[in-house]
Symmetry: none
Subunit: 250 residues, 2 copies
DNA sequence: GCAGGCTCGATCAAACTCGTTCATGAATCT
DNA sequence: AGATTCATGAACGAGTTTGATCGAGCCTGC
């Protein structure tokens, strides 16, 4: 990427988020923090952003809280996401589900050569400026509360593609191994996603074992792998293993 | 290949990708980096691209988005966008094209009860938090430099929907009334958009009359209306009127 | 108000890019 | 045929960008 392009993207990223930390920007754009600092200095001199300690603010909407920049990550959930990201080899394609779980996976994909397909608007924002990643957005109706795309357009788009990996979130896994979800409207999309992937990986921290949900997404047999953590209910894990699902502890 | 041909191709490549590095262009065109540098120097002198360290950027010519330097005709372009937004009645659906022109229309839609369909990521960002608006995103490959979605997924999504209004941007309208675009890759998407709308409205400020572009988007007869401003070339306007297009001055 | 962790700018070496120069070969002119 | 023009690629020194490192300064929690 050209230096000028990178600087344009920094400005764009700040417009989207209101603010950005040096470390975050460096990760997003795949360069060192030193380079980001130099860019910020230059852009500040040009009046295209406001430099602050730890990062920069967008120049117009500069009243956003900067606290988010140093937000603390939920360490455990992040470990699961990191483990999931390690499963994928460069050059492969993956499908990221709706929800924060999938967003966390996306955060670990920066700088890698991958094709990412998603209906998750938070993932789109996260990876929008990452040149390395070929990003494909599924169509659909914007569901603001969940920052996602749903509906028949999404399902139709899924029928047009096929990927190596699917990373699926869930509201909970029932004791018999069935994967559940709390919102009906997402279920047809999740089913279509399962059909569009070779490997279906479920991401679920220990609080999802066992868990509830009104809508059944799929049977355990439809999963290839479950990434979870130690502390997840033994019986449910056994049920999954029996169904031929590989259970990985992050 | 002739030098002129090669230079045209460089300009075309930049329009498609937004920017290009010397090394990348040399590889693409099968010549040495020295030759590319000489070409870039010459094209820069002709104003057909912007030279930057490491390569070149596409020049702001067509309905080219997000180059940050478009504060020039902002006032006039905004008047056209406002006029366009007034055409739509609450409860109706509209399709917004790629580009800054469509983004400006979106900025005038806040708070209204409408269904907005788009493949423009800037429009998505603009309307994402507007509860009143039902927002539908077309699928597709993310084209970062233009903040848009393109490709067969986009076209396929367009086949699934139909809207009342389409607001179309352009790089220029030829003297015979043909609507042109500067980037080939957008054309199939724009054609699919035209098919998916009852009323096709072209938005074009006076600098687009007459204008050029490598790719033909549609014949004047396919348009329902053109919103422009006084000062736009009379002859071209007459040509449009003759083709049955209503020409509105903002 | 103190300690520990971050962030900062400065500095340096390595990698990259730039414009210039020169030699080569093809096409055109004399 | 010989001379001239022109585009091209290789080579080179100068200038630019980048990432790593380091000491100084700033923030936060105790």
């Amino acid at each position: 990427m050209l230096p000028k392009q990178r600087q344009d993207q920094i400005v764009r990223a700040l417009r989207a988020d209101g603010a950005g930390g040096v470390k975050v920007l460096a990760g997003k754009l795949g360069v060192s923090e030193a380079t980001i600092r130099r860019d910020l200095e230059q852009l500040h001199a040009e009046g295209r952003l406001t430099r602050v300690y730890g990062g920069a603010l967008a120049v117009d909407g500069g009243d956003e809280p900067f606290a988010d920049v140093n937000a603390i990550h939920a360490e455990e959930k992040d470990r699961i996401a990191r483990r999931a990201a390690e499963l994928v080899t460069d050059g492969e394609s993956l499908l990221l589900d709706i929800g924060t779980t999938a967003l966390r996976v996306a955060q670990h994909l920066h700088g890698r050569s991958l094709t990412v397909v998603t209906s998750n608007l938070a993932v789109l924002e996260e990876l929008q400026n990452d040149e390395q990643i070929e990003l494909i957005v599924l169509g659909g109706f914007v569901r603001r509360s969940y920052r996602s795309l749903v509906g028949y357009l999404t399902e139709e788009s899924l029928r047009q593609i096929h990927v190596d990996w699917l990373f699926l979130g869930t509201s909970g896994v029932r004791p018999d191994g069935r994967v559940m979800d709390s919102t009906m409207i997402e279920v047809p999309v999740k089913r279509a996603m399962i059909k569009a992937a070779d490997q279906v990986v479920l991401l679920a921290d220990r609080t999802k074992f066992p868990g509830h949900g009104v809508a059944r997404v799929c049977e355990p047999g439809e999963l290839s792998m479950v990434v979870t953590e130690s502390g997840a209910d033994e019986a449910t894990r056994a049920q999954l293993t029996e169904a031929g699902v590989k259970v990985v502890l992050a």
